[in-house]
Assembly symmetry: C3
Homo-oligomer: 108 residues x 3
């Protein structure tokens, strides 16, 4: 048994946990805060058989990696200017993952 | 030294932690959310000597196990009907427990 | 790779995490509650190379240890009495620290 502790961006945590559940694995979410930027993020706990670790890591890689996305800003950057929304390329996502060994696993 | 990470139902976490404290052990509670049902639950951390692990597991088994309970619904299931409260048997509780090995323990 | 799980008083967690970040290490904060006094406190996660564990422990020892401080009460203990604020010595702080071994570390 291993315990995965993963720190994800809030917007990636929903899809990641939904995909983990769809594959029959179990997960728990904890609200957390980044030490540097002090922004909210999500820490998830996933207890799984050792043989399944790679499966869950693939899900996290696909749903939560750092990536470039085209986002259209929702409101004018400076109010008062005529507002022509156009897409901007930004960096989003990012997952930090620790896999720990579990001495003993119980379910009551 | 071992670190117990246990995920409990909210209504069991209070009694479980009170019993753990009564026996002289220390515990910390974290609010968490289930990945599948997205309902609030509680994750507790209990750092203890290896010789005491079984003691704490017994407390969790007694206070937080999955069990059948007779509950009387608080409000009419369908409004408008005459309401005769009678008890219904439901499944409650459930504890998922990971015991991890601690390399180093410090208290400052 | 090691994972430090430390439980700190709320008022020490800010300075501790700021100092950890200043030294180029990374940390995540989780809001938690003491099992005995049921007061809010902070649990931090710090994933670091084994060779840096002692560095981070020194930061926690310096910022979060149990200590005596002279504090001036903000309001009269009993209302109605003439209020002459004078400093009182109280015990504050305290850090409980678990260092866990990390099997596998990934960043996506
Ligand atoms: N080894 C570790 N142990 C515990 N938690 C960890 C961790 N590595 C990452 N995290 C968590 O993941 C979040 C995102 O980290 P990431 O490295 O992608 O993105 C980081 C990184 O690119 C940068 N950063 C963080 N700390 C830094 C530092 N001391 N110096 C320079 N850049 C830093 O700022 C971004 C946001 O950091 P923030 O602390 O707000 O939020 C972090 C933190 O909550
Ligand atoms: N290996 C593990 N790693 C991390 N956290 C774990 C875990 N096993 C359990 N948990 C945590 O404990 C809560 C209760 O789990 P339990 O297995 O009793 O009760 C579960 C289980 O009976 C069922 N369930 C969960 N995931 C499922 C899935 N992928 N497929 C089918 N049933 C699932 O739904 C109930 C509620 O699940 P929910 O996720 O909302 O809430 C879970 C989750 O927060
Ligand atoms: N081994 C462990 N595992 C998990 N979490 C741990 C831990 N040791 C300490 N903590 C966490 O750190 C907080 C401060 O603990 P400390 O030992 O400095 O200060 C403690 C201690 O001096 C005393 N205390 C705690 N439990 C006790 C007990 N069962 N009997 C007597 N005194 C207790 O009350 C203070 C506040 O305790 P509280 O539980 O509210 O809050 C605790 C708890 O959240």
């Amino acid at each position: 048994m291993k315990l995965i502790i993963a720190i994800l961006q809030d917007k990636d945590a929903g899809p990641a946990v939904a995909e983990i559940s769809r594959r029959g694995f179990r997960a728990t979410k904890l609200a957390s805060t980044g030490g540097f930027l002090r922004e909210g993020n999500t820490t998830i706990l996933v207890g799984i058989e050792e043989s399944e670790v790679e499966h869950v890591l693939q899900v996290l890689r696909r749903t939560s990696s750092t990536r470039r996305e085209m986002l259209t800003p929702q409101t004018p950057a400076h109010s008062g200017e005529p507002y022509l929304p156009f897409p901007v390329e930004v960096t989003v996502g990012g997952a930090t993952i620790f896999v720990l060994d579990v001495d003993q696993y119980e379910k009551y």
